[in-house]
Symmetry: C2
Subunit: 602 residues, 2 copies
């Protein structure tokens, strides 16, 4: 089975690779001064990076695609030829990118091969279609889009133009893919976030720092309330810590040493603006750092009082907003941001409590996915272990690693998780179990995580007094269920395509009085719903009922209540769901229906 | 009446002033090399600052006090003598502090007077007791404590030793004062915060940055839940914004210009550590600032979409944590910190909505005080107006100020607030109404505030489309009810002396099984209470019942449930409140009692 899949992959990759060359050939015919660089195969297609004399646009793709179609029939086969370094360099003497690649091959002592296709010659390792003009089917590929890309992905290098293409084995497959993509675009949380007025990201405030509008902030609060309630029910305690801490704290924790590239730079407090302009250090220097993690603060709370074996386990939860200076190019809506709120918890326990605690966390994680409508098929689980051949790069000792890796595996199996083991993927501080969810375009995002930490207990010398009255080092677990509120809400928007179940919808019911003489009764109904904790809004605009319904459905409001003469008279309400007219209801029956649905979380 | 009060004050101040001299005289007899500097009268007593050759301690005060008592009988009167600058300087030639004071008098062209008391001569302006040995009553004064103080209060100057004394007209008054102070100390939120394990402030994290322990964080969450629920009921919307923003935002808002001394310094992101060490600017500089206010973010949300007169009023609430770099010496427990969570809201409305919005805010404010057991006699209200003779220092125009000052006064009167008007005390951006609460030692702290803002709407060019289809500038109100969670909780701890009413108590009920064979039933009761939303804890220690009760009362737990043989058998519980045994209860009756008390918020 797997073998067949691999062969298929090989075949489609050969097609995609051939198309990359075809793209370069067409570009060079139209833009003879363009410099081709590299053109690899990617998921769903291929790309090729060029240096153009003057930048090209999306509109130019049509012209290039036409040229490709013109050339293709003449490409019967690919001719391979080994060349000497000298020959190769002479051929590409005007293309510094290819020269760099040749030099790399030279250094690595690899042979250099040229491939010729029709009139077009390219430096290449091989693996193309045997008969490109036969294998590449009509309508099975298209050029997709243009983007900027640094040469070799390095910001310090020149920005090149990348042309992306889509390619499949058949026209059907391409069409299906495009249809899926369009469906996905409609579910994209960035698009829905704007349409449903949930949040925006503001250039003036900063990249990766979302601002939550009323409906988005309410959605957040609903989720947060649920989170807190469930944490208290599951015997967690809350803690609360600041967003900044003295640099000494981060030096002690090791974050400053290992992690400073991902942190916002220090604030040198005590230094006046004048000092700063004169590059003068403050007399009393206090450097503060924005927190990239909550952990060291929780450790400081732990250390504030001596702890006994009777006090353990501690389960300390905090929705703590942390800041990490991610590269601008890697930011993505709510799924990768620079400021995000971890639904963090630290479990500090004795060795004999570890297994039980792990089970509880996994149960809790699965409960959360279920509550938000994710099925386990939507979730991929990874068990990340240490590389046993590279022990010195990890904190902790052999015994600790053996115990924690084994207990993680044991519990994951017991809980029937379908997990993949990944050797060498553990954090330097301990093994972990990660849960990842795919977004609409198929990218996996880490959400829940459960990590052992050997580092902080050592660095902060965390202790408890055991039953024999001796000091003992506790085990420490980091865990997050959502991962971050921002990312989880982003994925949730896509998961539900913005049509949240009743319990999550910021506006649960839209009341639509047909005319002004129905406003009074609409207000009455609104007040009753509000008293009963139902989140309703009245549409008091002058629009027609049709437009009011259209707008409410566009906003994906779960229920619409239409109020006209008939309803005012009978003191009833006509109820519509997102998809259909439900019927005439008394308020009592209505409340019953809503409350049942809210309780069921469907 | 006032006159009499002034005379009294004059008399007691003369006594206190005389005692300051007496203190200096005694110090010089014991430490001839000490240099006296200044010794003013303060509330409840006096102090004198000295430069000592080697530092003195609290224990040395007894010796000094004894010496003062020894000298006092010989002080029948004070002799005044005017001296020339030259004479004065010659006399104090070894005391650079007094020399500095003499030079100041010289510059100000004031006469210089020496006062002699027994053998002791001091530079002084006068106003002492006529007959110190008669006026200063036995037991009416005492030395209080020792502290460090910079010469002239300037951090750049030398640190001196300040000796504080307490002084009243009679022994009775001193005793009463000391008793009050001791009472106050017991209620001090810093002391109770530690005893009740609510929070701590950690040197490693930073001054003014509290860490909230489980019970404190739960107390916070209970208050926050109540706050959110009431805000939603009062038709506020929630918003949510980051803790940092690009410097451009703060330059636009004016905070960076007016306020940068109180802000944490910028984070120059994009600059690598190496760049920093070489004092090299980043190529792409992005400077971020920790927010001292939430307002500019709310304004950016407002501006994200065009607004119509139909959309107003907006009432946008956020519990937003802000950071201000207060001077270390001014920090004080939870009442003045460097990171604090404002229970902030901005009301953006039309002119015709202003009055109604003000009334709603005042009603809401009074409701909050009532809910937390503050009476209006605990609260002082100030109406801060602009100085009409110094108009150019304020944002906005005459019409706007006239309207807002008048409407604030009108509404404050209508709501029967007992307020004090303060001319010239308005913020530069608008008039305001402040509500202040006294802490246990009598210091007033600003809590609720209601402020107009003419500045931000102008700077950010905030607009809405009015009924005529024209752009119009909205009115903007800042308001906070608690002021900050930290300060309000600090004051709340003192207000209740840590004995929170049932609805606020982090632990509402402590279950005390007498022996191990009562654990099972204790657990059963615990589970029932938990299901009903009652926050309970079981004391499973090996301590005696007496000790368990003692500890629970020390923790100010509202209710104790004692479980022994009798209770296990009858499936009942013996209930004790903080102050008395309440009796034997069935669980049903118990739940009833608790739920009623929680609902009443008493």
């Amino acid at each position: 089975m797997l073998k067949q899949e691999n062969q298929d992959k090989l075949k489609i990759n050969k097609i995609r690779h051939s198309l990359a060359h075809l793209l370069a050939a067409a570009v060079l015919e139209i833009y003879p001064e363009a410099k081709p660089t590299i053109g690899p195969v990617i998921e769903n297609g291929f790309y090729y990076d060029f240096e153009f004399k003057s930048p090209i646009k999306e509109e130019d793709l049509e012209k290039i695609e036409r040229k490709m179609k013109e050339i293709l029939p003449s490409w019967e086969k690919f001719e391979e030829k080994e060349v000497s370094n000298k020959e190769a360099k002479e051929f590409f003497k005007d293309n510094q990118y290819k020269l760099e690649l040749i030099e790399d091959l030279e250094k690595a002592k690899e042979k250099i091969t040229f491939y010729t296709f029709g009139k077009f010659i390219d430096l290449c390792r091989g693996s193309h279609s045997d008969k490109p003009n036969k294998d590449i089917k009509d309508g099975s590929w298209k050029l997709d889009r243009v983007a900027g890309a640094y040469w070799r992905g390095d910001e310090k290098n020149k920005m090149l133009t990348r042309i992306y293409g889509l390619a499949f084995e058949s026209k059907d497959e391409l069409e299906k893919y495009i249809q899926n993509q369009e469906e996905a675009k409609k579910r994209d949380h960035r698009k829905l976030g704007k349409e449903l007025d949930l949040f925006h990201i503001d250039e003036m405030v900063g990249a990766g720092l979302p601002l939550w509008h009323p409906k988005g902030a309410l959605l957040w609060r609903i989720i947060e309330d649920f989170w807190y309630q469930k944490h208290l029910e599951n015997d967690y305690d809350l803690v609360r810590t600041p967003h900044i801490g003295n640099r000494i704290l981060w030096e002690t924790s090791g974050h400053w040493g290992f992690y400073n590239k991902s942190m916002y730079p220090p604030m040198e407090a005590g230094q006046t603006l004048e000092d700063k302009q004169k590059n003068k250090k403050a007399e009393v220097s206090e450097e503060y750092l924005l927190k990239p993690m909550n952990c060291p603060f929780h450790v400081e709370i732990y250390k504030n009082n001596p702890k006994s074996y009777r006090d353990l386990p501690m389960r300390w939860a905090e929705c703590g907003t942390v800041y990490r200076f991610e590269k601008k190019g890697e930011l993505s809506g709510l799924t990768r941001v620079r400021g995000f709120t971890q639904d963090d918890a630290h479990i500090i326990c004795r060795k004999d409590q570890v297994e039980d605690e792990l089970k509880k966390v996994i149960d809790f994680t699965l409960f959360i996915y279920e509550s938000f409508g994710f099925e386990m098929k939507d979730v991929k689980v990874y068990l990340s272990l240490r590389d046993p051949n590279d022990k010195e790069k990890y904190a902790g000792n052999d015994l600790g690693w053996k115990f924690t890796e084994e207990v993680l595996r044991k519990v994951a199996k017991e809980k029937k998780l379908d997990f993949t083991e990944e050797i060498g993927e553990a954090a330097f501080y301990g093994p972990k179990l990660d849960f990842k969810i795919k977004d609409v375009i198929g990218r996996e995002w880490q959400c829940s995580t459960l990590q052992f930490d050997f580092n902080l207990p050592e660095r902060f010398d965390m202790l408890f007094v055991n039953e024999k009255g001796k000091n003992e080092r506790p085990y420490m677990l980091h865990r997050a269920l959502f991962g971050s509120f921002e990312r989880f809400i982003g994925l949730l928007i896509e998961h539900y395509a913005g049509a949240f179940p009743l319990w999550l919808s910021p506006v649960q019911v839209k009341i639509l009085p047909i005319g002004e003489n129905h406003f009074e009764y609409a207000r009455e109904v609104f007040e009753i719903l509000k008293t009963e904790g139902i989140r309703a809004e009245v549409d008091k605009s002058n629009e027609s009922l049709g437009k009011k319904i259209h707008y409410a459905k566009q906003q994906k409001t779960p229920y619409l209540l239409v109020i006209g003469d008939k309803e005012v008279e009978s003191k009833e309400i006509t109820l519509e769901s997102r998809t259909k007219k439900v019927g005439l209801f008394s308020i009592e029956k209505l409340l019953n229906l809503f409350q049942k649905e809210i309780k069921n979380k469907k």
